[in-house]
Subunit: 331 residues, 2 copies
Amino acid sequence: MTKTYQVVGIGNAMVDVLWECPDAFLTENGVQKGIMQLTDRDRGVELYGRIGPAREISGGSAANTIAAVAHLGGRTAYVGKVKDDQLGAIFAHDLRAQGADYDTPLADGDHAAETGRCIVLVTPDGERSMNTYLGVTEFLSPSDIDEGQMADADWIYLEGYRFDGPDSHEAFAKAIAACKGAGGRVSLTLSDPFCVDRHRAAFRAMIRDHVDLLFCNRAEILSMYETDDFEAALAQGAQDVGVLACTDSEHGAHILSDGQRWHAPAVPVRVVDATGAGDLFAGAFLWGLSNGFDLEACGRMGCLGASEVISHIGARPESDLRDLFAQHNLL
Amino acid sequence: MTKTYQVVGIGNAMVDVLWECPDAFLTENGVQKGIMQLTDRDRGVELYGRIGPAREISGGSAANTIAAVAHLGGRTAYVGKVKDDQLGAIFAHDLRAQGADYDTPLADGDHAAETGRCIVLVTPDGERSMNTYLGVTEFLSPSDIDEGQMADADWIYLEGYRFDGPDSHEAFAKAIAACKGAGGRVSLTLSDPFCVDRHRAAFRAMIRDHVDLLFCNRAEILSMYETDDFEAALAQGAQDVGVLACTDSEHGAHILSDGQRWHAPAVPVRVVDATGAGDLFAGAFLWGLSNGFDLEACGRMGCLGASEVISHIGARPESDLRDLFAQHNLL
């Protein structure tokens, strides 16, 4: 029987606040380049007070992935918490307008925290340094997980960042049980090397016990397996999961499964804003997989998705990915 | 004595919600192309529910002008009402981060209306159709006008759109009296042909009695003087005010003053989003005038400012206007 959803994603719901800044701003303000750092509300407010005129675009890692699946015409839904406030309304609108289902209960208007936001500092090299105030999205709890929805998904897609909340491990466990119990499969993204560092044991247990498809990049898998030998890390990852999809920026992506291995080349573009590269890789890959394409084609779709999103500001697709796939003879 | 401000602008404080849409969307949704239409909250919500994923950028016509003056390094301030909500905080941040003073009292958090927003529909030809929910910005009152600040300005800049609020005429009268009483001068933009239509008599009285510098475009001045003869309208405008600066899209701008006349050619660029063209023209023109440039140079600066802002999405400058002026031998 065809399930309602090809992919259901669970992650931190965020609105991105984008500012193109000089490199000096990062050092002057103690922002570590190229990674995601969590901030409390005060630090977020302080940093916001220092940045220049910005623009707001809906973001959130898994939400970007789900937006990409929806953009491609996939049947998809998202789970992540926003508040009943203006940024929450913007987040919900943008996801639904892209064609994804999104029905996570809102945090009450009187919740002390606000909808999460991420100050994304984009330096002239296109690298992004993210400063995340989680806000209410930290409080996604098991009660927000609809077991029926998880059972009705071919794939669930779990965002590693989501491990940073108090009830997140339980919420993930509930989602995994419901999905797997109904014959669905589980994918996970490691999200960030420092996020891996904060939750390595929990990630490892989940990967070995439940994950069918693991998304990561070079830095993340090295952190995961605590090695500086990329090939060794890939080999270990491939032992732990059915499919490993590891991106390596301008070197493309490595796909490993069942003793086989493929390489998908990166698609050269001028990098304007690297935000969302991994998210779009995963979205395009999952769409391909859900529609019966082989792993090599999925990897190439992933690289094309990443190339589209890094060629403009913002982490959601802006031009037609299906056209792009067709131009590269993938459709 | 040097005054604190070269330009103080008064207008409708708005956050723009930008979506690039096909022409068919306008006709299907009864949106009139190329103009600003006021919507109530329900219509705004309805329209927002129909548009695709959008991005939010601070806007507001006079606020864009003041942002341009600040961007150029001018001493400038803005007056316009937002609420103590998330969009209000975004609006205030972006203006201050650009270097403008902004101290208008916030509407209380319990005000029934929200911070104003404008759904800007950008069609493939770069034309913008604006759907404005005024929200709390409609309620700017005389008590929000700081007479000391108006007296401390070389120029005040009044936004025609602001005539749409209940207390706006009084607020403008207070600002004009304070500014002129201290030897300052008054500029006004007609904003929109239909706005002129709504308030023709009030505009005319203000122009004849108080305005030293009038900004408008072809459609607006034709509406103002109820004629279809552009030259006749220009002649009449030039009789009513000390300086008339009238833009005519790809035909550039006409500057008329004291029996003399200059033409500033438009600067050819690919039009991505026409939003803010008139606002940037006024900002660059006022900056030039406040810094002692002659009217012809001010007109050329205005056209360069307009060309920058229409070459990208959003109505605030994104590249260095002083560099652009220097490249054209204006600095």
